[in-house]
Symmetry: C2
Subunit: 330 residues, 2 copies
Amino acid sequence: MAVTIRDVARASGVHVSTVSRAFSAPHLVNAETRTRVLAVAEGLGYRPNRAARALTTGRTHNIGLIVADIANPFFPPLIKAAQAQARVHDYHVYVADTDEDPRTEEELIRTLRRQVDGVLLCSPRLSNRAIERLREDVPFVVVNRRIRGMPAVLMDVGAGARRALEHLAGLGHRRIALVLGPRGSWTGRRMRAAAAAAREVEVVVVGPNAPTEQGGLAAAERVLASGATAVLAYNDLVALGLIEGLYERGVRVPEDISVVGVDDIGAARLNRPKLTTIAMPTAAAGRIAVDLLVQSAAERAAPTVASLDTELVIRESTGPVAGRRAAGAP
Amino acid sequence: MAVTIRDVARASGVHVSTVSRAFSAPHLVNAETRTRVLAVAEGLGYRPNRAARALTTGRTHNIGLIVADIANPFFPPLIKAAQAQARVHDYHVYVADTDEDPRTEEELIRTLRRQVDGVLLCSPRLSNRAIERLREDVPFVVVNRRIRGMPAVLMDVGAGARRALEHLAGLGHRRIALVLGPRGSWTGRRMRAAAAAAREVEVVVVGPNAPTEQGGLAAAERVLASGATAVLAYNDLVALGLIEGLYERGVRVPEDISVVGVDDIGAARLNRPKLTTIAMPTAAAGRIAVDLLVQSAAERAAPTVASLDTELVIRESTGPVAGRRAAGAP
DNA sequence: CCTTGGACTGCAACCGGTTGCACAAAGTAT
DNA sequence: ATACTTTGTGCAACCGGTTGCAGTCCAAGG
């Protein structure tokens, strides 16, 4: 059916092992033999069968990319970058979605385990303990989670949150609601820590919530009840949902309440008011995570942790606190 | 290293072939032998190696999913659904992004060819001829493209565009700009056909454009020059970019110009004004496409073409033509 | 001239499963 | 009791590559 290494060997009058080496160990074969073999292979449209190769070498040249929700706009740029970078290393990427469910996540890792050289775990919902157990079976690189002894790519939301709180404080806000996402989220904890350390502002926590527009929408009531004049939301979806919920209740953003999101998804730029948000370097994270994975699959280097900077992008959803504005414009 | 079928065979006192059959041909093995073997396998944490299995059976249980741009919000719901449905059939999904480049697309298909049982081509940029040539090597299912003799999942944008034009005509619009996407797009052609067939409205074509916010933004000038009072955009991103561009020029939506998008991406609901748009059943398309692929890989049935309905979702970006409104509210 | 070593290439085992075939045991028809 | 099925299992070849080992050829060194 498909053209195999034996077809190439026959057509070029050498043994299969020579063909094999022409592809995967060029220095072991005579230069002109090699070019001849490659030419024949090209002519026949031969491509090595990766499954067969994986069987002997133990390297599949596949990586698994596991995310909680592909449709969450935070992930696609990361997936895109990871997939592109994987191609650079001649790797293919399995993408799998856990639907935010830790059990699905674990099962996914188990089935993927033997078909990949490593797994990229993006904002995993699994416990540290579970992840450490599974790591016996397959190398991991985690994104936005810190697990000791495990390579990771972190985005510095803590610093971003700090800057956001300063920004809000500078606008005169003194009581700020932190609208969190799912329980046990690493980024959520970083935001919480930043909030706890903040001087001059008082932070009230609202949550946990679903990390979606719905979650934000549902949190609107409690945000109003909290008496906060500004909000730092778990992510942009929550922020946008929240703005929608506030709007429905006749509360204006930023006139009545300021809102800051996290991620800088496309909709943050498109929405009106345009969202002030902490931009996450998702594409860079995807690229670097793949590099770490490929590298950690190849060598036994010490696990690297990359920390990427975030950036506060100030747009239209934040403004001076209501009282101050009135005072400023007599 | 990893536990293999031989480990299981040894531990349960049977031959490897019996273990193999316990998994993949249950009816050929004694019921109690089978349960014993499965129990041992479970205890050892055995999972069959798919690469090895693929080698003999010729079925990889992988499918390739090729899209032009993962980050384009049209695709993630489709990818998510496809991936979930694949799991139902015990398939894994490679996701690959062509960056809108036909050459990349072709190369991707070539490298994936032997590692998958079939490829899902979503809104391919490749020519029909090229696709027909490649199909010798691997079964395809195409989404939003019609190629004779090839299974396909189509979303009926034509009907959607017709309804959108009727909706606009009903609001008094007589001159409508059709802001297209990339040259040679199937959905673009359907929209064009629907526009050409429209009675009572005059349609002017603006394009081609990039299928992105940038494309829409860049088209704003030409839309204004066209003298149209309403716009049907290639997709929601273009529509949102266009609205932004109009807004920058002091033109209001829907007060001055009405805009209809296509896709119903998340941002369409979040944007203000909320976008009137033709909702595409992307999740259903992903699910059905996988079913067709799995089925066409298994049997040699006649290629099926599934056509899915679209729905016009009327929100806030469309309204009565400016003159009429004035007349209606004296 | 013989030895040594390097550069190539072939041979064959092996990776982890699947599957056609042979065969034994048990059940059924005659 | 004999012949014929049926059922369950083992044997071994095979899928398409990789790789350690051995053998050949030739150039350089002694």
